[in-house]
Amino acid sequence: MTAHTTESPIAEEPGVIRRFGRMLLADKFAFCAAIFLIVMILLAIVGPSWFGDIAIKQNLRGRNLPPFDWERGWIWWMGADALGRPLLARIIVATQNTLMVAAGAVVISAVVGTVLGLIAGFSSPRVNQVIMRLADVIMSFPSLLIAVIVLYLLGSSILNLMLVLAITRIPVYLRTTRAEVLEIRERMFVQAARVMGASSKRILFRHILPVVFPTLTTLATLDFAYVMLAESALSFLGIGIQPPEITWGLMISQGRQYLTNAWWLSFWPGLAIILTTMSLNLLSNWMRIAFDPVQRWRLEMRGSTNG
């Protein structure tokens, strides 16, 4: 038996990308969600450069233009805002900031919270205590005060806003991770790894983290929506992202006052948030199955019968 012969069956198996692609096709909802999110990400990348100019081109005489006016160019189909700028273009341009702030905040809080949670769950009671008290402090620290402090001391910027939103969400990940670690560290396969002489680091990152990971992904997708809304509420209170930067949350907040006479100003960005949130949820449900070897067959089976 040589290395060569044992390698050969691997080549026959479809590549990871194709396998996941097939699994994605198996779940129609998740597939649509993925398409939607990919479009959103593409818009986030190219949006500001393609539509950046038209999105800030003001026309005070064409204010609050209603949507569904097919006579005009497609960019006007969603109507125009209070400065006569096409809403469609603005939503596209805002995608970048919105997704960046939300993703940034979620990633920062998830990474920091998870690492702290892993440490808290796996180290001495004293360290655990310190970290948990820290979580308590952050938890009861009024998030608006954090916002005011950070934005006052560091200035208002996308990055700092990300930071503010991230800080407030750290305890969520921290507590979840810690609780899971406390449970998982007692599982047999962790004991088995210890018997083999695995280091704490290896046990944490190779054995415990992958098991916690699905829970964290679910949490993160839910948080994504939460962060977008929190960002919107900060704008409402006047300490969030500020024009001329735009996000969907800010657009809703700005459109609020036109609710009775130009509903579309806040409706479209609201719809964008809802669709993104729902797509993320659907995709995270799919991911939970697709990344779990025990569950994966559900998708692979469906995929093969379809294909």
Binding site: M1, T6, E7, P9, V195, R202, P293, V294, W297
Partner: protein
């Protein structure tokens, strides 16, 4: 045929899974009469519990579907009744007890409440229910019954919980009791007691009993007739004696042959230095003394069986020897070095010599790693054993060694059966080329036929590679064909330590004798003798 209490005719049950429709039972028929005990014998996956679930209306539909057949209770077809009619039969005319009473009793209500609920759900007043519950609990032999009714399931021992389950099931004097693996998780001595209780109650009430089990010993102990199931089909039926003495179907023959405790016993003769020398190991959890000074020696290449019931401290001993727990005192010299005082770096090197195989391979294999990753992890942790390019080859070799195929290495643990998983766990232990493997109940969760295969595998490894084993079990027959020495433990102490022949043929201690007597033998004649010994013991 209407005079049978219960008759199952041509019952087929399917389950819709994403893999297509699976026939869980395929056109099976059996019957049971009043006062009679029918055993349904089968291994995991045989579909032995499905028909009883169908009787109790416990199959979730979908995904399940009863595709054909009828279930006649006194001639009336249960499958044609309304849900409400069936609800009124459940508990009242047909009752059921389960394996693992801890999870089958609602943890948040008192046992008294749960027994009373059975009564009140079928129309008894709560005052009646209260006196009846007290009577039942007294009957099944729970000490201090008044007080016991106010306690919660977790406050009882395993045997007591199963007695409570029985009390609850028999509350309304059902015509039929279905017992699904009622003694599987129990200690052998407790198992014998619970089976005896069931028999007594059956005599008292004249009810019919269907007992579902994988254990031929249980069948022999309690049943009048037996049906054997394999892969959803009923392959053999007859009286217990008929089936044991002249099995017709090859599967039945295989099952009977796999029963442990029939081969040659080992005759250890190794002299010289012990590989492992354990002295006076002590461990306490809070006020509870788990180990009260354990000492033994283990020669290289030999197998020491550690046998004891739950709470005997046998698993604690295993954990401490592998430093998963820290001992309170004592020493364990491995090749002259005390395992208990090693610094982490030295311990890390020594891990290669000492490996462990756990009870439940489903738990001990990380579900998110492939077989290749699981086995090669040993070399990630100890990189000096094997250079990376050779890993694939070596994993394949190990898989072959434990009786699996090299192309299994890309799969995940859940894609294997229980026995195969335990083989993977053994292969993983072998990857470090250890000199001692501690097996903590490594075969207890496996079907009998698989048990025999795994033990044979371990025995072969011992012979071929000279690995020493500490083999922990709660049951004596399992270790008989495999061990060189046997150490019997009870409540954290060594009760008896001797060669396998000494312990089995001339047990010195009362406890050892009780354990031997409590184990159930599939042979009706042997079993009758054992039962006599038990009676004698009890009196």
């Amino acid at each position: 045929m209407a005079d049978h209490l219960l008759e199952v005719r041509n019952l087929s049950v399917e389950f819709h899974t994403a893999m297509g429709t699976v026939k869980a039972v395929d056109s099976i028929s059996y019957h049971v009469d009043r006062g009679e005990t029918l055993a349904i014998l089968g291994e995991s996956g045989s579909g032995k519990s499905v028909s009883s679930s169908a009787i109790m209306n416990l199959i979730d539909m979908p995904p399940g579907r009863i595709s054909s057949g009828e279930i006649l209770l006194d001639g009336a077809d249960l499958l044609r009744m309304s849900a409400e009619q069936r609800r009124q039969i459940n508990g009242k005319r047909i009752a059921m007890i389960f394996q693992d009473p801890l999870s089958h009793l609602n943890p948040v209500y008192t046992v008294g409440w749960q027994i009373r609920e059975t009564l009140t759900a079928h129309g008894k007043s709560s005052a009646e229910a209260q006196t009846e519950a007290l009577r039942l609990v007294t009957r099944v032999g729970i000490p201090d019954p008044e007080h016991a009714l106010k306690k919660y399931p977790h406050q009882f021992s395993g045997g007591q919980r199963q007695r409570i389950m029985i009390a609850m099931a028999l509350a309304l004097r059902p015509d039929l009791l279905i017992a699904d693996e009622p003694t599987t998780a129990l200690d052998v001595t407790v198992q014998a007691e619970v089976l005896a209780l069931l028999k007594e109650l059956q005599r008292e009430t004249g009810m019919a009993v269907i007992i579902i089990t994988h254990d031929l010993g249980v069948v022999t102990e309690i049943a009048d007739r037996v049906v054997v199931m394999e892969k959803g089909a009923l392959v053999e039926s007859g009286t217990v004696r008929e089936v044991y003495k002249s099995p017709q179907h090859p599967y039945t023959r295989k099952l009977i042959a796999a029963a442990p405790g029939k081969g040659e016993m080992h005759e250890p003769h190794s002299k010289g230095e012990p590989a492992l020398s354990v002295r006076d190991v002590r461990k306490a959890y809070g006020g509870f003394q788990a180990l009260k000074g354990i000492s033994f020696d283990l020669m290289p290449g030999e197998t020491l069986a550690v046998v004891g019931e739950s709470g005997s401290g046998k698993s604690t001993l295993a954990r401490i020897l592998l430093r998963l727990d820290e001992p309170d005192g004592g020493s364990a010299l491995w090749k002259g070095r005390d395992l208990f005082t090693l610094a982490p770096a030295e311990l890390y090197k020594l891990r290669r010599d000492l490996q462990m195989v756990f009870q439940d391979p489903t738990q001990s294999l990380n579900p998110r790693m492939t077989v290749y990753q699981l086995i090669s992890e040993a070399w990630v942790i100890h990189p000096d054993i094997l250079p990376r390019p050779k890993w694939r080859e070596k994993v394949a070799e190990l898989l072959v060694q434990v009786g699996l195929s090299p192309d299994h290495m890309k799969r995940y643990p859940h894609q294997f059966s229980g026995g195969q998983r335990q083989r993977i766990a053994i292969a993983r232990a072998l990857a470090l080329e250890p000199q001692l493997i501690v097996c903590d109940e490594a075969v207890s969760a496996l079907d009998v036929s698989i048990q025999a295969q795994v033990i044979a595998l371990l025995d072969r490894l011992r012979k071929e590679m000279g690995i020493a084993f500490i083999f922990i079990a709660h049951d004596l027959p399992v270790v008989r064909d495999f061990a060189d020495h046997v150490m019997v433990m009870q409540k954290g102490e060594v009760v008896e330590l001797g060669t396998v022949r000494e312990v089995f043929e001339a047990p010195q201690q009362e406890y050892t004798r009780a354990l031997l007597a409590a184990s159930l033998d599939p042979d009706p004649d042997v079993q009758a003798a054992l039962r006599a010994a038990r009676m004698e013991h009890a009196s």
